[in-house]
Amino acid sequence: MGRMRVLIANELRSYREALAEALRHLRPEAEVVTAEPEGLESRVSRFAPHVVVCDRATGTVHALPSWIELYPGYGSRSVVSARGERREVAEIQLSDLLDLVDQVDLAQQS
């Protein structure tokens, strides 16, 4: 059973770095990496993340069960796909990201 792998690929560098840093601190057992949006597709193939966080979910991301499209178009809404179930979230919190990581981690362990 490997570590949880989380890929963060938001366009704004401060967003992806702050989220990655917070996740590394709050979920030290997870392996968190960042990528620029241009490198998202190749990073998904190489890193095989359990969760992807980005602001423009591509077809490759949509094909994964768990991801968050965070503030697409720099709006206030986000889309969360939790193990294949999608929902729109009006004002997503950091705790929502952590919940998704925890859910996926739990499912992976069982």
């Binding site: 704004l12 560098r13 401060s14 967003y15 770095e17 840093e21 601190h25």
Partner: protein, 225 residues
Amino acid sequence: MIVETRVAEDTTNVLLVEDHASFRQALAVVFDREQEFTVAAQAGSISEARELLEGIDVAVIDLGLPDGDGAELIEALASVNPKAIAMVLSASLEPAHFARAVEAGASGMLHKSASIEEIVDAARRLRAGEALLSPNEVIEMLRMVSRKRQQERDAQISIEKLTRREREVLQALAGGLDSKEIARQLHITVETERTHMVNILTKLGVHSRLQALVFAARHGVVEIR
């Protein structure tokens, strides 16, 4: 959403004002991990932040907030807590937007494409009394604000010169009507419509119907439905 205020005595108290809550909360984790900083409070809007300005040493403020321009909050901070430092962290690429923040009293500004290391370092440097902007940059930004204000005043003067009929012609133009259709709608001849249009172009200082429409829409003379 206001997070509890916890002003510390021996560290730099930071206020984070940002409507993207997950980013703000992540940034709070980043600042809290630095020994010299304590995130004393967080807010997602100007109205929330107004209640949290006392005891703050550094406020990191987004400009595009749901209830207005972050520059308003920078002014409020300077008035309530003059020793506090305002640092802008914005996704805006509009120089006038940053210039307005400098005029309001911002000491530094960063684009959200900056790294978190740059953001924390900027807060640290500002707190240590360093300047992030050179005097020339500040002067240029203040000049920009002044130029923009003058342009707005000039536009207002031009608009005031328009007659009621000319405003009706512009509104019809905004409705997507061509010359003949405008004339029909306003019960005037096409020649009269053209005379009105020439007068409008002269008064607004523009050269085409399209430019007149853009000017009118930008300054609220017409509504585009």
